[in-house]
Symmetry: C5
């Protein structure tokens, strides 16, 4: 993974160097991996002119209002809402509630909030879980950077089976 | 399918030629089929005077706010929200969350957003999945065109068992 | 059923003849029975002074915003939202989403929207399904007429075990 | 149960005699027990100066907007939303939808609406169901009376394991 | 547990002594443990300059509006919403509804409301349940105190696997 990231750094397009705007990052104390710093590092490296605003809350159900405050009180253009979902049934229910709130916060603000949730059930070892978190966080940080450029920035990838936290499925 | 579409082109009614208004199309990079272009082609062919506005987001949970922005910031009259729902349990939950958000976005704007979701579980092969996506997308694009003409445009089809993504069930 | 309806026509109370106001009816092209016309006929017959506004949408998830538009843009006092729910698991989920939206639309407008949903699973034959749809639609159309007269119109029936789409359960 | 109620009447505290304000009561024609009158009788007997406003709707999904109208159009301070939940799976889903709407109506008005739902599955005989309804309705009517006095009125009972529709569980 | 709390008292940092602002506490009469007083004691001991406002409601579904009223009518900066969730399936559904409402209340006010829900199913004895309640309530009271200082107060704990009601999981 580290190698891929390094490679990415060298491939950084001149376009991304010029992107401006601000991205909020909200993460949790519940998570067992520092997803917030992963996202921050990706943005600093690949779009150095983008302003970053951090926010840390206890758990995933606290993400929606924090994301909304980043938009309304800290003037972020787009927010990454990072969460680690525990392995119990109640944790999945919490993730559902958080996701509903994140959608609602977007509708109230007309700004995107990319929910980046990683479920413990997705991995069988802590190492695998951590790798999934990194892949999903880094790719969604890149999505956020792209989306700062407007509604057509992801257009060429439409319908191409992109995945975050796993290899791309590709088009049929 | 291609044959049917060709036939449709030749049967295009003079009425549809004159329909004006604007339809937003929001699709995803997650989808493995280019549903957005399917919708766009249908509208261009069958209602050439309709303005089309495209928007691409990462996944289905990003559809609601994008659809709302198409209505409020890009002045679309109606939006097609196109999504491919993965085969895991979590994907179905995401589809539910996205649908709730799409309904909410409609209530906040008083505009229709036609959710066009295709579930992997609906098909047993990629080819079948792709065909279902085309049928559902094309038929809902036609619904969107019709609905530009107001609340009575679909009236003659009320209670007649129409289906998108499958053959019509027909009236009882 | 037809006989019962005929009988009802002759029993129409003078009170109902004088009720004014407007009832919106939104139905779908998905439904396999023309529930909208059933509702319209009931209202025309039993409360001829009531104004009726029709609206047809593709499926049940399109009902909430259509009902809201009938209230806000077409000035209906109360709306009947008529839907046929398919037999698959996804259809039940759609019905749940539609119902949540209908409740939300009511809260946003302070007007009643009577959800009239019939599930395929409620009947074992098409004929039975059709009969259930007629009974539920006609009875809820009568509820709508009554509710035009205000919050106390159904008071004498409170706690008496009324059912729509089935015989009344009656009081305990 | 009747005996307990009689006893309560004689124990009515002088404080409750002086409570003013208004309580809305919304009930349904679906219910098989007249919960509305149970609530009304409790309030008349125990807090005779409280104004009562009644509202009857067809079923539990109609409760949220009726409760909101009682607050906003009939100026009630607090509302009791009384519902009998049928025994089928769909009825439980309706109860969930109604409860979500009741919570939303409270958030939109900043007034309490006490949801008093009784599930058929809670009792094995009609008589038992009726007794559960009475106990839950009477106790929540008393909660409503207490809450007219403000946010601290229930304070001394905090964490004491109170139950409505069943004997109190008591503190651990 | 008492010992730990005592120790905490002696370790109270000078910073916490100076924190100002106000924390609302809403609890229920349903709970079998006095969670509200646990939270109040923690705040009084560890952040004595913080203003505390209490509110008691019947059950967990009454928490959302009470929390919103604490913010909007009693000017609290942050709220602790304390609930004991019963062991039946319906109780879990109520907890889900309450959590959805708590998220919505936060989005409507742009203030944090920390939901502190303890499920009977989490413990096998009343004593264990009580200990879980204390641990979760005390730790979230500390979270609330920290969050009075702004969005970066929990930053150093981001991604470190903190838990409330159980020992910390720690970072991977």
């Amino acid at each position: 993974m580290r190698q891929a990231v390094t490679k990415q750094r060298h491939n950084k397009s001149p376009t991304m160097n010029r992107i401006t705007g601000s991205i909020g990052i909200v993460d949790t104390t519940f998570a067992r991996v520092d997803m917030g710093t992963m996202a921050e590092n990706t943005i600093r490296r690949e779009a150095p002119k983008v302003r970053i605003v951090r926010y840390t809350v206890p758990g995933i159900k606290d993400l929606p209002v924090a994301a909304k405050k980043l938009i309304e009180e800290h003037h972020c253009d787009i927010v990454l809402a990072l969460g680690h979902v525990g392995g119990a049934a109640i944790d999945s229910k919490c993730a559902h509630e958080a996701s509903m709130g994140i959608i609602q916060a977007q509708l109230m603000t007309n700004h995107h909030i990319l929910g980046v949730m990683v479920f413990e059930a997705e991995a069988s070892t802590p190492k695998q879980l951590s790798a999934t978190m990194k892949d999903r966080t880094v790719k969604h940080a890149r999505n956020a950077i792209a989306m700062l450029q407007g509604k057509d920035a992801l257009r060429e990838r439409a319908g191409t089976g992109r995945r975050q936290g796993a290899p791309d499925a590709g088009p049929i």
